[in-house]
Amino acid sequence: MIEAILFTLSLGGICGLALSVASKVFYVYEDPRIARVENLLAGANCGGCGYAGCSAAAEAVVNEEAPPNVCILIGPESVAAIAGIMGSEAGTAESYKSFNNCKGGSRATDRFIYQGLNRCSAVNALYGGKHDCHIGCLGFGDCVRACKFDALEIGPNGYPIVDKGKCVGCGACERVCPKSIIEVRTMSQRLLHLNTEDDALAPCQQTCPAEIDIPQYISHIREGRYDSAVDTIRERNPLLLACGRVCPHPCEEYCRRAIEDDDAVSINQLKRFVADVEMNSGRRLPISSAPDTGKRVAVIGGGPAGLSCAYFLRRVGHSVNIFEAMPKLGGMLRYGIPEYRLPKAVLDWEIEGILNLGIDHHTNVRMGVDFDLGSLVGAGFDAIFMGVGAWKDYKLKIPGEDLKGCFTGISFLSRMGNQEHVDIGRRAAVIGGGNTAIDCVRTLIRMGVEKVYLVYRRTRKEMPANEVEIVAAEHEGVEFVFLAAPNKVIGDDEGNVTGLEYLKMELGEPDASGRRRPVPVEGSETVLDVDMIITAIGQSPDTTFRTPGTRMDELNITRWDTIDVDPDTCRSNVPYIFAAGDGATGPALVVDAIGGGRRAARGIDLFLKGKPVTAQPRALLSKRHIPESLFTDVGGVGKSVRTPMPELPVQERIKTFVEADLVIAEPDANTEANRCLNCCRLCYDPDKGADKPDSLNAA
């Protein structure tokens, strides 16, 4: 008996001794914070956080690979306590949510039929899956089975639908999806994601400079979910009221419905429709923002690029101040686009909504005059965005250009936009063929000028202005003088304009831009009897803000006076200065400026978070398309009538600055939304009853 007791005691003693010696000898330093963090976690080892157990999650938190709120089971007090241990703000980490990127699902044509397989991973292992579309959803629901929180189900169209309320962002679905269709992202990551070659993108969405998810918002409209449609647009474009009115919708040129003998879906009118629904309801939809990051950004210029950049920066949690030289925000939207195209009340409502996110703004302050780079840096701004626009009109460089009665396009329009008094004449000539020239002639008509000429040195076919605008100007009685190059402005003794002399031109050989070069005809001088001339032949950025001898002087400027930036990240040669919009690209579309503002916001966000400011891999930039998505024919699409744009009758609209283009009615919007083929990259839903096309491989 005594041996047994002695043996047990000694065995226990040896084991205990060996282990205590071992724990001393084999001691490995471990951050004491790991144990403290682990004590605050739920201890359930549920794996909901995506880490292998609570210790692994605690280690990830201490290594700053996971946010303090990594655990899905603990309350806000514990999150705050963990943040306290880590010395960080409790709120800086955003929650992750699951999103399904495939909107086409089972409609993509089948390439293979597999019998007996019921897992996405299984069919994916065999030649990449059953569908023709190599990026689309396979629809067997591996993600649904992986979700421990019952937040996913396969919807009626055969692809997964996420219940955002139940999703905890654990990432289990993303890990099992063999096609990367399901992605778990924070709102910030989604807002700043640029289109890439690997995304499920319809041709219209690839074309839109702002990268709006067009099929998604149209499908919301089709199902009557106008709020969701507005939210979808706002993920990419904060100026939907303005864009719905003035955008020349490059997206519609790539609409698959227009490939055969049908008209494109009226995408932009649908945008305007939902934007107007929100405005007319008098109730602003809530826009969520990420928790504050404590970083501050100065946005110089309150135009579309500046507003877009400020909006996205604010939504991802940075604090933003806008500095604007003009009396009000809006830039060219307010001072370049006339009231009849974009009413100031509409613009004010839209800008107010953006400022309501908590964006500060200062107007009537000009860079280089009222403040400079030094004062911004001194005031503690971490990064600077320059959306200075292109406000300097090109001159004609002909004699008499400074006579009384001569104006330049942007200065004329901005004075109108500012409601200043402008002395107008009886007969006016506008020189130029772009949108600014058209805006000038249509403004002059509404101001009661008896005769308005538009003088352009090429023909109507070469006019860069939007076709609808040209047609509207024709209807309103503008007289077009094509193939005319102004030669001289004629004045009287008192210095007033009395006429414009021009040379007639004829078209010669095509030039570098592919347009036939106009050549003057000898001895063809003709005089137009006018007493007012507006020159609208193009603009460039005003770079007078570059004070010599300061850091601004180092900012690289191109030979077109634009700020030289990396087109992917919008960063200039000064690391903390970013630029986009007309000031960086030269005069372009509003929607280009909005897209640029978002790209710059992405660059600034990377910069502020201390990450390398690099282009997103495989991004679809510089108006590139995914070749496989450009079809040459689409089968099974029945012809349908495009909803015409309602507008005020000509006789009525030329007397007033009331908005000329009207919004489409709700039934029309519904019809138009139903014309959308709901395309994705390789799939689309042809009209009901039609056979599925087998022409996809030919494309």
């Binding site: 226990g12 060996a18 282990l19």
Partner: protein
């Protein structure tokens, strides 16, 4: 030499610790969903089972038997195996961090693997010599690894098939394990 060949073959195949003696079923079901974890577990078991068998054999032969206190066998083996696993874990963490990270969660799980205890007790029951105990425990561990890896390979493929809902996951796993055991019965006449 012939005896050892028989011992190896019978320990690996005929008396396979999982499929013939039904020990260590929990890690067999729990870690066989993926080939990667199955190989990790197999490696860890070979390591621990061999060490545990040697130490328990020594304790049994030189202490328990000489002192005539064999009734303490179970409790002392439990204590030794648990301490051994802890010790090995600490040793690997410090000395071979790569192996420690590779074995990961499986090392502590072995503490509760009844196959380890089973092999130690078999060695005593069969009255093996030291060398025999060493060879048999390595062979049993290899047999465990073989069964686990075969089973994981089958389960990875079964998951792709159309399994009726009530039989999915562990249920079909147990049925598969039963079939695998039937197959191993076929080795009975080998020696």
């Amino acid at each position: 030499m012939g005896d050892y060949t028989v011992l190896i073959i019978s320990s690996i195949l005929i008396n396979n610790i999982v499929l013939a003696q039904y020990l260590g079923i929990c890690p067999f079901i729990g870690t066989s969903k993926k080939m990667e974890t199955a190989t990790g577990m197999a490696g860890a078991v070979v390591f621990v089972m061999t060490l545990a068998a040697i130490i328990t054999w020594t304790i049994d032969t030189y202490f328990l038997k000489t002192l005539n206190i064999e009734f303490l066998r179970t409790i002392s083996f439990i204590l030794v195996i648990a301490s051994l696993v802890q010790f090995v874990e600490m040793f690997l963490k410090k000395s071979i961090p790569a192996l420690y990270a590779g074995l990961g969660i499986f090392l502590p799980l072995i503490t509760t693997n009844c196959a380890v205890m089973g092999v130690c007790l078999i060695n005593i029951k069969e009255e093996y010599s030291f060398l025999q105990a060493l060879v048999s425990s390595i062979s049993y561990a290899v047999g465990f690894g073989l069964a686990l890896i075969l089973f994981a390979g089958i389960r990875e493929r079964v998951i792709l098939g159309r399994v009726p809902r009530p039989l999915q996951d562990t249920s079909i796993g147990l049925i598969t394990a039963g079939m695998l055991a039937l197959v191993f019965i076929g080795f009975k006449g080998l020696v």
